[in-house]
Amino acid sequence: MAPKKKGKRETAPRKTVSRKAAQKKSTQTWVITTSSDRPMADIAKDLSAAGFAVDQTLEQIGVITGKSDAKAVGKARAIRGVTDVSPDLQVDIGPPNSRDTW
């Protein structure tokens, strides 16, 4: 279990929870749109350095998906070649065998 930083306010300061677990709780999937003037592999590397757990690198459409907390998002937006960072949008067309649908 990684020790908590002394004197720093964490998201959940009172609970004794590992940093990994704390990160997991506040991480979500983000969708990063890139411009074509930089190789995606380089952008992905910079995203990792900024704290992203890169998931998919979709070469055809220039989109990278990954997990991170809100802190990394600000850093990501500043990376050269990144044109947009948005939360992953869940699509739901409704339950099976529905008469009416999207």
């Binding site: 749109t33 459409i61 099976p96 008469r99 999207w102």
Partner: protein
């Protein structure tokens, strides 16, 4: 799957006490469309249950009686492996087919006058469905049962415009889009459908080339129905089995079934984008994404739309059925947004409006659904977008230059104008070449 392997070992129907799922899977596997479960129901004459149950046991059948359980309530697992299951309150025994045959009993054989048995009949599956599907299933079941009895059944179905159209041999939607007279089939055109997958064993698609890919951690096999229905409209057969009218447009198109929605209908972390990426990598001319959410324009979807257009593809999406603004991905400027029309060619009440490129039939659309039901009727802008995807495949076939933006422009330019604002119907009703 281990379960499937076990079912293959038992080629015929299982014992009397198989679960419904086991019976359904077994029926699917032997290609049985008769709606029979494979078991038989023996009805005893009134007051003859005791004698009848005794007679069954006397033939050596391993028989279980509901009275053996407290309150006559039992779980199917409690009685595993029995040949017959006696239900004394209603005077019926459920018997496995194999057990029946080995004791010289059959549905056809005459029953002796002094026998405690009144009748032996096949057991049929029953399904819970939405109203129209239920009636259609019921009508089909009565046809099957009547045929067994050597009679013809006449069941009056409710009066629908669709019923009239069926007499002409195609769904109302195909007729309005001028599909039946078109010489085109979508031959050689790759059509990606990113949805809940496909019923890969559906009889109307046997022999069709279907490339499947999952992006949600579940097999491509459609257990939802949305994917099978949309693939049916866009790419279904020219001549479906039996008396079903033609419901599909690009009947020779090459189907790329991308499962980007799970069997519960939801996307899984970037699965839609992954599917779009895959379709573009495969250079599909038509990329049909019958899905969306009421959200503002998403940069990633717009990027995907651009990438498609740059690689000979067009992404086609339903505007959404919320009576509001088009949702994402349809609202992206690089993605074709489709509105829904009713049979009278007026915009459907549920159809979103605003940024709309084109419109198509979306109310009460008959198409394929997963077995054993096989056909079902749905309403939504997805159904409308499916008509556009199918027609786009036919247009793409007319010339190799009709790809990307050229195909987009052609489909819009050839639409039939309608007396409604562009915000409702775009350029109008999509038409086949």
């Amino acid at each position: 799957m281990a379960r499937k392997a076990r079912k293959r070992a038992q080629a015929t129907s299982g014992p009397a006490t198989s679960s419904v799922d086991e019976l359904l899977l077994a029926a699917l596997e032997r290609g049985d469309e008769s709606l029979e479960t494979g078991r038989y129901l023996i009805t005893f004459k009134e007051g003859a249950v005791k004698e009848g149950a005794h007679a069954l046991s006397a033939t050596g059948l391993r028989s279980v009686d509901a009275r053996d359980f407290a309150g006559q309530a039992f779980n199917i697992r409690d009685v595993a492996g029995a040949d017959s299951l006696v239900l004394p309150e209603i005077g019926v025994a459920v018997v496995a087919a194999a057990a029946l045959a080995t004791r010289g009993m059959s549905v056809q054989a005459e029953i002796a006058a002094d026998s405690p048995i009144q009748a032996i009949e096949p057991e049929y599956f029953v399904f819970a469905q939405s109203a129209d599907d239920y009636l259609r299933g019921f009508a089909r079941a009565t046809e099957v049962i009547a045929k067994d009895l050597g009679q013809t059944a006449e069941l009056k179905m409710p009066d629908h415009d669709q019923e009239e159209v069926q007499v002409i041999g195609a769904t109302w939607g195909l007729i309005k889009c001028k599909v039946p007279p078109s010489p085109r089939s979508g031959a050689g055109i790759k059509v990606a459908v990113l949805d809940t997958g496909m019923d890969l064993g559906h009889p109307d698609f046997s022999g069709r080339m279907i490339v499947g890919q999952t992006f949600v951690g579940q097999p491509v096999q459609d257990l939802h129905s949305h994917g099978t229905h949309n693939i049916g409209t866009a790419c279904g057969p020219q001549a479906p089995a039996g008396t079903t009218p033609r419901y599909g447009i690009g009947y020779k198109a090459l189907i790329f079934a991308g499962k980007v929605l799970s069997n519960s209908g939801a996307s899984v972390g970037g699965s839609v984008l992954a599917g779009m990426n895959w379709a573009i990598a495969n250079r599909c001319a038509v990329i049909f994404t019958p899905l969306g959410s009421q959200a503002p324009v998403q940069a990633a979807y717009t990027a995907a739309g651009t990438a498609a257009l740059n690689n000979g593809g067009v992404i086609i999406a339903p505007a959404g059925s919320s009576g509001s603004n088009p949702g994402a991905p349809a609202n992206s400027p690089t993605i074709m947004s489709v509105a829904s029309l009713d049979q009278n060619l007026s915009p459907s009440s549920f159809s979103n409006f605003g940024k709309i490129e084109i419109a198509a039939p979306g109310r009460d659309v008959l198409s394929s659904v997963p077995r054993p039901t096989r056909y079902g009727t749905r309403s939504g802008t997805s159904m409308a977008a499916a008509h556009v995807a199918g027609c786009a495949a036919l247009w793409a076939e007319t010339s190799p230059t009709l790809r990307g933006m050229n195909l987009w422009n052609k489909v819009l330019a050839t639409a039939q104008p309608l007396p409604f604002p562009a915000s409702r119907v775009g350029k109008g009703l999509v038409q086949a070449p």
